[in-house]
Symmetry: C3
Subunit: 276 residues, 3 copies
Amino acid sequence: MDNNVRSCISGLMNDIRRAKPLVHHLTNYVTVNDCANITLAIGASPIMADDIEEVGEIVAMSSALVLNIGTLNKRTCESMLAAGKTANELNIPVVFDPVGAGASKLRNETVRMMLEQLTFSVIRGNMSEIRFIAGLHATTKGVDASEADLENSLQSGIEIASVLADKYNCAVAITGATDIVSAGNTTYCIENGHKMLSSITGTGCMCTSLIGSFCGVAVNKQMAAVAGLLCMGIAGEAAFEYAGQNGNGSYRIAVIDEISKINAQTIQERAKVYEA
Amino acid sequence: MDNNVRSCISGLMNDIRRAKPLVHHLTNYVTVNDCANITLAIGASPIMADDIEEVGEIVAMSSALVLNIGTLNKRTCESMLAAGKTANELNIPVVFDPVGAGASKLRNETVRMMLEQLTFSVIRGNMSEIRFIAGLHATTKGVDASEADLENSLQSGIEIASVLADKYNCAVAITGATDIVSAGNTTYCIENGHKMLSSITGTGCMCTSLIGSFCGVAVNKQMAAVAGLLCMGIAGEAAFEYAGQNGNGSYRIAVIDEISKINAQTIQERAKVYEA
Amino acid sequence: MDNNVRSCISGLMNDIRRAKPLVHHLTNYVTVNDCANITLAIGASPIMADDIEEVGEIVAMSSALVLNIGTLNKRTCESMLAAGKTANELNIPVVFDPVGAGASKLRNETVRMMLEQLTFSVIRGNMSEIRFIAGLHATTKGVDASEADLENSLQSGIEIASVLADKYNCAVAITGATDIVSAGNTTYCIENGHKMLSSITGTGCMCTSLIGSFCGVAVNKQMAAVAGLLCMGIAGEAAFEYAGQNGNGSYRIAVIDEISKINAQTIQERAKVYEA
């Protein structure tokens, strides 16, 4: 299975680089430049547009839509809902990043509305965010997963992802020391990555942009999510080897470098993915 | 002529570094940091301010105004019009970057209003955006020029730029494999640049910021546009030689590095500019 | 005294890296990514949120609040006031960066309101911004201190900082060739730093984020301000030695690198701080 996954993902990478899918983002202003650059680095084409008057047209020409509530406000929340509805009508895949879910009533209410009104292909969050969505006790600390939530076992994470995947009929990805991607009946675990990824801003958002890029070409959205997380994990490891000792700034640049250089051979040599 | 252009541009670079012109930007939130850093790298001073209550005062103290509709919304569109009008009244040069013109009704209508209500010194876009402004069939793919539009011949681009320059009484710059800068009667072509520039976000926006910086010191706005595109093209080449093999992240940093190091000698050695 | 300051600051750095204080930012969209990354590099945890419906909840879970008016607008000004009031009620330290004070009526009026309605732990600005707050003739040139204002003597800066510190009952930091941090009765001068810091955008904002990070763990807010400026100054020097000759892009990355690597030994070897 492991080798099937590897070759499937290598195929998707080739597809992205050939098709250059347009990935429409409504995202936060903190990491938006990183999201654009990582989308280009994997071979897709980013477009950021958030005015409600144009999001319908922009998403209609796109191959995937990324909704990220990192710096949500009322204006952009409305635009996100409108963009999401158009995407749903047109069968364009929507990837949802519920940044900071659990941290404020506004975020919680926004997440609730999004889940009610939109159909997602993939939901990606950290353990605190996904636990919040699952209705479990979550102790979100700002936009990072809390220590308490991280202490829950891998098995518990797999169960939560699996239940949510069934409930929302989509792939659910939880990023952490071990990444989890469940489609309900099948769940993959990814053991790539490096803890230094948490020392730079935007690695979660960039994961979501990578998943969006893969969704722009993949029929199997769970595999798109696995591919996105695997690429980020491998890039995080390779970047550490190459530039980790230089410090956070160099490491951040190296992550983008590694994404732009990732290929079938890198996947073959480094991927640590297994079915749970 | 070629040597005249080179020495003219070297002179303008010295002028920027001596005068440090303040360049007011109303621009998008995706590449705004890159725009600020490239403005500093060429030796000018960026200021970003977009509230309608202050744009008049800010532009009045500036040497040039850059209007970029990359992530336009109704609030900032109004501010752009107000800033542009003040700049026009005070004879402060205005550079327009019609990002994604052709991609949505909102963008098209905004571009139409800007062209009707404001006088520009330079308009810079890719082939799809400029073709849209020319009223020709354009097939904008998000914020990048489409393959179809790029297949039009250089001669066709020169004609479009020339006609628009006459119509709007300004310099019109089309960036692509060969850059075109027309003032109507005279047109320059620039053959510097590297295709890796299209693998990082914001190179178009950064070109426009460089043109804005040169407009802050240049009497001849066509020459300011040539200077901006030439600097970006040369930096793109030099950055590729220095860091291209490291990947997209390093390349992006190297482009800013090269802009900050560009000088009369680099221009003399590398510039490939000719009158069409 | 000098050695006491050094060991105090080394202690605060350890505290940050142990406690990882959450630092809530309402800041500008130009340098927000740099602010997030430098907050992470020093060991704290950034969160950016600016909708008025959630700022109260977000600041309540934070250890410090940074208010930066770099790209202010009416919506975010209201959010800044609301966040600041909640922080004041909860005794959460608030750091204020009056970017461009003096450059427009909107900025001046906003600064006046902030100073009237909120209590700050630290105010940090350049000489023009702080002179504006002091009601002195200031000649703000955009967001940078003007040449004229910089020609005022160090002694004059110390007096201004000291008077304002008494007036607003907080620490006042003026960044420049020599940084000044006054709490009224005591004032420190810092002679670290490098002029290349002014060739990249956001070094002022990043200083403020570092001060916010130190305020998240320090009882003595003047010492938090000294620590923030000292770290930036030392990183600016070390980054120049390491990467200055490569150009502005590399230098910017190296500044973040050096902040992430700064430690007690670096402080011991490089700090040039004295009581005025």
